[in-house]
């Protein structure tokens, strides 16, 4: 009996150890929020289109998962084990019956100058000058679902590290049916021209987009007020109006956490908004709603009155979205002038 129990136990343990990670469960957990449960796309591009999945190798998927697309929302997944990444790739692969394509690693050589001219004429309208990608990504929720997919960034270090020259060439030759990406061969380009474009796209590798540097920016913008807490709140209301924002409400930070009347009265939050700004930020990245509407917190702590806001410059990093840089800069300037105005 004891023997059986031990055997049984060993079987279970070895079963757990050998169980291959569940690709679907991992995809649901790590990818579906952006790419959709069936890979039909969302904030991320569709992955289940035959024209995509039949034209990329497992190696491309593998690397894309590992390195992500810095500054273009798609995160890197260094925390997954090799077996987990393999399981996810296997799950994505299960959306097609076709055998996997293989590309050899031979570099494609061509005339970058001609490639650049062709790029500006034929590609830049979607992929942007310098290949920085379309405004927004995928088929985000703020747009009609049947609108075309937004063109990915081609100057992205994550893309360039994952795609081989031959894969890029193949994409240009065949295009991607069901997306705005057309076949250049069908559009009348010669193979030599296509090689030139590939060589040009590859040359983006050195351009590397610069994103706002992190070090200079603290997590919060904090300004001391020479006035009392009540006066500071009134000053802020005026400053918010002066900046053409609309005050939505003023409440205590502890609102909803403790019974009404019992809140800490030394922590006041002003919520305000400007619809154009809100709309623009959400259409760049629907996830930023978490930090909206705008808020200033006024705190009296150890006799000092301080006004504080989040530092929006941190958000583009948090969201891995360089598209937010301009909006974040604008928001930072707004916060700074409101706080400055209120402390005069």
């Amino acid at each position: 009996m004891i023997k059986f129990t031990v055997l049984f136990f060993l079987l279970i343990v070895s079963g757990i150890a050998n169980a291959a990670p569940d690709g679907k469960a991992l995809f649901d957990k790590h990818c579906s929020a952006c790419h959709g449960s069936e890979g039909k796309g969302g904030v991320g591009v569709p992955l289940s289109l035959p024209s995509f999945i039949n034209s990329v190798s497992n190696e491309y998927l593998n690397r894309t998962i590992r390195v992500g697309r810095p500054g273009r929302i798609m995160p890197a997944f260094p925390q997954l084990s090799d077996a987990q990444v393999k399981a996810i790739v296997g799950h994505v692969r299960s959306w097609t019956d076709m055998p996997m394509v293989k590309f050899d690693s031979t570099p494609v050589t061509g005339d970058k100058k001609n490639g650049k001219e062709l790029f500006l004429k034929r590609c830049a309208q979607c992929h942007g000058e310098d290949g920085k990608g379309g405004k927004g990504t995928g088929v985000t929720f703020s747009r009609k679902r049947d609108l075309p997919i937004i063109a990915p960034a081609l100057n992205n270090s994550g893309f360039l590290a994952s795609a081989s020259d031959m894969m890029i060439k193949n994409t240009l030759i065949h295009g991607r049916d069901g997306t705005p990406m057309v076949s250049l061969l069908k559009a009348g380009l010669k193979e030599k021209d296509i090689n030139d474009v590939v060589a040009y796209v590859r040359s983006f590798q050195k351009l590397e987009t610069t994103s706002i540097s992190d070090e200079k920016n603290g997590a919060a913008i904090i300004v001391e007020s020479p006035y009392s807490l009540e006066e500071t709140v009134e000053n802020l209301k005026q400053a918010i109006e002066n900046q053409n924002f609309k005050l939505i409400r003023t409440d205590y930070l502890e609102h909803g956490f403790v019974d009404e009347g019992k809140e800490n009265k030394k922590q006041v939050v002003l919520h305000f908004c400007n619809f154009n700004f809100l709309f623009e930020a959400l259409s760049i990245d629907p996830r930023v709603g978490m930090f909206l509407p705008c808020r200033v917190t006024v705190v009296e702590h150890e006799g000092k009155v301080q006004m504080m806001t989040i530092n929006p410059m941190r958000l583009s990093k948090l969201f891995n979205n360089d598209g937010l840089n301009d909006a974040c800069k604008a928001m930072t300037e707004t916060y700074e002038s409101i706080l400055e105005d209120a402390s005069l």
Binding site: A33, S37, F141, K144, A219, I222, V223, R287
Partner: protein
Amino acid sequence: MNTFLKSFLLFCFVSANAVASDLIMARSPLSFSEAMTNLQVSLREHGYTVARVQRIDVGLTGMGYKTDMYRVVFVGKTDEIKYLTNKYPEMIPYLPPKVSIFAEGGDTLLVTANPMAFAMMVDDEKDRIIFQRWESDVYSVFDDFRRAE
């Protein structure tokens, strides 16, 4: 600029090479209102207070936005919020923690910042445990959300 404007140079709020994801997200096949109910139940089961549900979509459809189903849920544990705002004032603008919930097609999406991103702002090792527990609770709530039927 004769103000007292100062940006706090803290540790890295979002470290560029963080191993964990800075954002935690989940998709549920449930409709927005069902998903919203599920989320609140799960948060309460995990011991959190839902302090406020803020609409941020007022006026969005009027501007051509495709959804008017977008809410931000303010959530936390009262004693922890009191403790942290008192000890780490520079964390105040990020408190209480918030979870975004919005409709995408027939599905509903959840997004929040990984609490461990805030842990970078505390210097007391024992306070980091608060954020570690938050993080594991967020994962658990988001798992519930993903699996709800």
